[in-house]
Amino acid sequence: MSDPVSALNNAHYGAGIAEVSELGAVGMITLRGDINTRGVQKGAVDVAGVKMPAPLHCVTDGSAGIAWMSPDELLIMCNYADVAKKLETLRGKTAKVHALAVNVSDARAVFELRGPHAREVLAKVAPVDLARDQFKSGMFRRTRIAQVPAAFWMPEEDVIRMVCFRSVAQYVFDVLSVASQPGSEVGYI
């Protein structure tokens, strides 16, 4: 089997006020259906290995995770190598309910912003209140990064993970790098 190649091959920018990294190939499965039903939830939870998130939240544990994308969509995250097997299991588990599961790993790019200024860098490019008492670890927010759609969450304080479409990976990396250029601290958040 050929090696998976992510959009930016682990590109990294470490000279600014926050570290910007592309995280390489990440396994992602989109699950659409009535996510309030037991059948869909059970399939997602069994395959992901984490609990069901509340609306607008995500539950992550290392590379495993479930994110609440919309009232009828979940994003299941896992190791890239495990996607095919998990997808097959998930399709089996949701065979009797009205649901659709698709491997979207290669359609996405994943980034990490790290450091005490990570919130500040993100706040420059997303229309979201990133104050410490507003956006908290465990929340999952779909929004835009500058001009393109993206979603992000905080696995821990000062660490932001972000998903975007693969086709705009270079744009997002460039935007985050510019927003974290040296000396660009705002000092507000």
């Binding site: 994308m69 919309s70 009232p71 969509e73 229309p127 929004t143 835009r144 759609p149």
Partner: protein, 107 residues
């Protein structure tokens, strides 16, 4: 700038996370309609100074459609409501009545 609350996912955000898609509650004249009705459906739109009902979509968020009532003059948002309806809900109309007495006659 409009501050919009999406009734589908519950997020409140500023308008750039959303996209406006024009006047709401338009009758879709189709097969069997007259030329005048078809023209009305395709081209005739209100352009009120004041209370207006529109279709919006949470473009960068949950991706769902919804309706919004707002004032085109002050940009006040009176409320948002489900896309699965032919008319605004009564409680929203009552709220608009309180905020803009006489608006129904003006429209």
């Amino acid at each position: 700038m409009l501050i919009v609350s999406c009734p589908n996912c519950g997020i409140t955000a500023e308008e750039t996370e959303f996209h406006a898609h024009g006047e709401a509650h338009i009758t879709r004249h189709a097969v069997g309609s007259s030329d005048d009705q078809m023209e009305t459906y395709l081209f005739m739109r209100k352009n009120p100074k004041g209370v207006h009902f529109e279709r919006w979509r949470h473009q960068y968020g949950c991706g769902k459609w919804f309706h919004m009532a707002r004032c085109t003059m002050t940009l006040e948002v009176f409320g948002t409501y489900s896309a699965q309806t032919y008319s605004p809900p009564d409680d929203l109309l009552a709220r608009i009545d309180a905020r803009r007495p006489g608006w129904r006659e003006a429209t």
